[in-house]
Symmetry: C2
């Protein structure tokens, strides 16, 4: 009985990712943070990288219970990361989670990568519903990357958030972790998003039978402000973890004040 | 020869959407704006609503020439709206467009809808590459909606942008147009994004053979600040066109200044 009471007062933590429920990153995340609360995993049943904030409108969603070490409950879902958060909040869970954690992503979500990221799409979906939400990403695309340092810091940051859950100075965080051993990570910096873009080079190939050309999206990231020391890209290069507070308000307030009557044409 | 010179000095306008190249909205858009420049359409070959800023990483892209009245050239592409912009900029077009226009979307992209919107994902992709970009949306999901007023205003706004293309006070706009006859639209307001969320109710159904349950994402939009007069939701309700200047910088600057040393744990 005592145990039941204790269990129900633990923070409820919803976990998802975009690499899919079988990825190493989400397994290492749950292993590292499960001591801080009751952990429910609702994650895509297959990789969903690059899905941004996409939602599934043209197909139904399916979900099933899934085995997941260290999680209290786990479900795999056919949808995008944002779908997973929506179906978790409005169908699967019987109360609102206290915290949503997405990741640990295999690959960077710093700078402009945040807008393409399914990991961050899920975290931002949590924030839309007023739930503190964090995305963790390791700067390695390797499916068997070493998550030791990332998991250590994810646990440290999660603990700090859980301890202060009622008085957080932020709603959503994008946390990027350099691909370095723990003793080479210099610390944590709270930073803004660096301006950047991907210069794409579509690789052409030909269908083996029809010979029709097709194109693979590949590209190279360009930091558009490499000298700015207060950005995620800069501190990551310098060996720090980058913590970006995130908003879902896309308004360009600088432009807003400059163009109040710009279209007064009627 | 004179005509060639004149042609090449016309602004180059790249057009896309998320309802697909055969949707009425993009046809009406091109009809309305083609007089302002050389128009190249690169649009999805099928509906891509709700795809947000998603990019296709796990499949190749295909594109083919497509017939399109009033456009100088048109291509349909298998990818998302963001893919269409990327493949247009880095593969199809021989020079950088002066302007990108996305739409006219069938349905609202005001308030929180912007984060799910393929229409706005495409416009924001343009902005990432420094190109002035505008998304137009009509507040009607009807596939045969009346676009007369929306097309009229899209032309008016496009003309104003083209006239001032070198000195715009913004980079990206999200333009939402009430579903009203032209003479009932009161004018244009430059506004911020209203806080809002979708309260989802997943409709359950059962597979005809296996009887396994599946879920359709449906929901209801809730304006979280209905009294705020400076928002897109408010002015749209009031019969105005809402113009939101948009940024791809997701940093929450309010939180940033409040939490500078929050994670100084090392």
């Amino acid at each position: 009985m005592e145990e039941t009471l204790e269990t129900s007062s633990r923070p409820l933590i919803l976990v998802t990712n975009d690499d899919g429920i079988f990825a190493k990153g989400i397994r290492e995340l749950v292993k590292a943070i499960h001591e801080f609360g009751e952990v429910v995993v609702v994650a895509p049943d297959k990789p969903q990288s690059g899905k941004s904030h996409a939602v599934t409108l043209d197909a139904p969603l399916w979900y099933t219970v899934s085995k997941f070490e260290d999680a209290d409950r786990a479900y795999k879902c056919t949808g995008t990361p944002s779908d997973c958060i929506k179906i978790a909040l409005f169908r699967i869970m019987d109360r609102k989670p206290d915290l949503i954690i997405s990741g640990i992503n295999h690959g960077s979500n710093s700078s402009i990568n945040i807008v393409y990221s399914g990991t961050m799409g899920a975290a931002m979906e949590g924030a839309i519903h007023g739930i503190p939400s964090v995305g963790f990403s390791l700067l390695s695309f390797n499916s068997d990357a070493d998550f030791a340092a990332a998991a250590h810091y994810a646990a440290m940051i999660t603990e700090r958030i859980v301890e202060n859950i009622k008085s957080l100075p932020f709603l959503c965080l994008n946390v990027n972790i350099p691909n370095l051993p723990e003793n080479e990570i210099k610390g944590i910096r709270v930073v803004r998003q660096s301006r950047g873009e991907w210069i794409e080079s579509f690789v052409r190939n030909y269908h083996p039978s029809t010979k029709r050309p097709y194109y693979w999206l590949t590209g190279e990231y360009h930091n558009l402000e490499p000298e700015s020391v207060d950005t995620d890209s800069y501190v990551l290069e310098d060996g720090y973890i980058a913590v970006q507070p995130v908003t879902v308000d896309c308004t360009d307030y600088g432009a807003l004040s400059a163009m109040e009557n710009y279209f007064d044409v009627k």
